[in-house]
Amino acid sequence: MADTVTFVIMLVAFSAVMIYIGYRGYKATKGATDWLVAGRRVGAWVVALSYGATFISAVAIIGFGGQAQVFGLQLLWLSTLVIIVGVIIAFIVFGYRTRIMSKTLDALTFPELIAKRFNSRFIQGFGGAVIAIFLIAYTAAVFKATASLVQVTFGISYETSIIVFTVIVAAYLLLGGLFAVMWTDSIQGLIMVVGIGLLLAMVWASLGGVIPANEALAALGPAKYAPNGLTSASSFGSVSFMLVTSLIFGVGIGALAQPQLAIRFMTAKNDKVLRQGVPIGAVFMFLTVYVAFTVGALSNVMFKNNGIAIPTSADLVIPTLINSLFPSWFVFLFLFAILSASMSTASSLFHVSGSAVGRDLYDKAWKKGLAGQKSMSVTKIATLVVIAATLVLSLYPPDAVAYLCTFAYGAIGATFLAPFVATLYWKRATRLGIIASMVGGLAATLLWYTFVYSKTASVITHTNVAPPLGLLDPLFIGIPVSFILVIIVSLMTKQPEEEHIARAFTGIS
């Protein structure tokens, strides 16, 4: 067990830096635009690092790294997709238009962008409610994963860890709004790159390089979820193939419409920032997820070479590898990288959930729009409420939280992706088309989780649908339903006013 006193001293220093950044954010925040979209004046490094650090949580590194031990190198398709879809396509296809349109329409949240494009308070309220319900549960899961890791590594109790992390994140977020969140994300992102990036270099070095490492992994032969070997893809249509492709496409495509990521585009100072953000984001993903998945797969060789039993839970693979085979200085560095991954994701989720409750639900949908400073105060209070609710849910998680968290990615992806595409690209889309798409996409996803998707349906409704259907990720159902609904309902309803469309698309060629 690593030295707890050293860890606590380092944590205090780390927190002091984060809270100082929060204070600087406080000085820079004058109004709602600053609090919600960082004044729309953020540069390339901060936009891209913040995007990456928000995207990649401890769950992505520890959880999916552990999955790579089970599935082998075929999980590299997920890191490839995260780079191509999650960064390159997201920035190029969605980034520029989101930035320009949100500025033209003066939209300060993700649901507000869609709502203002279609002149609908319902869209903003419904979008805000979906974000609040699912992302609060997701944040609780992020904290739970980190606290469990700290408990395993340092013996600090789960409850203490949760409370300390929540207080640190709350302090800098409530002080400096999105300025504080994005700047702390960037510092935390750099710690992630160093800590996680070094891990692969050390693993490759100990296994004699890339090719000998892969050959040693291949020599281990077939595994339960890698029937063709740990460096080979599973056969088309097999159970492991369905599991891997569901995971890969579910995460990769779902990433395109996550509000906590899309809001980053609204903060960019200009188009050049987004263009330069593409390589920064792509390299960041490479040094984090690609590394975690490769190390996760190669851990099979590391465990075998050192006579260590493979942990029974995939979540324990990376912590066991680090604690057993790496020097203590690296254990600290890696732990801070994981803490950074958790805090950067959690602060962004708190921020986006707080604005969903305060601005989208209460201020705009219910109160029909509050005036200037009052609007910002409401959002700040809502953020505090969201943080408190997440703390309680992390400490005393009811069963429903686990389900909401499992549903979160798919539910949000299916609710927002088609409306987001239509908002930015389809002038013929109508308000009713968007509402049908949001409600229908969400409903289809939740129904699939409840009655068909074997992982959840077998527990919730005790239904067992045989593979391959039972293994199909709900996003594969929710997203097509959502796209079909927006097209059909829009074509059946009255064309939107030309004047409003022309205004919304100002500056977009």
Partner: protein, 44 residues
């Protein structure tokens, strides 16, 4: 097997590097027209 990986896993491996190179060229290649367009958007 290519570098210890089957062809599908190798494709993911190599695509990752192609994507990184593309992103570097896309983001860092100087573009004059981009700056001009941006200037027009500044006031919007």
């Amino acid at each position: 097997m290519i570098w210890g990986m089957d062809v599908w896993v190798f494709t993911a491996f190599i695509l990752t590097y192609i994507a990184i190179i593309f992103s570097l060229i896309y983001g860092l290649w100087p573009r004059k027209e981009q700056e001009e367009k941006e200037g027009l958007n500044e006031g919007g």
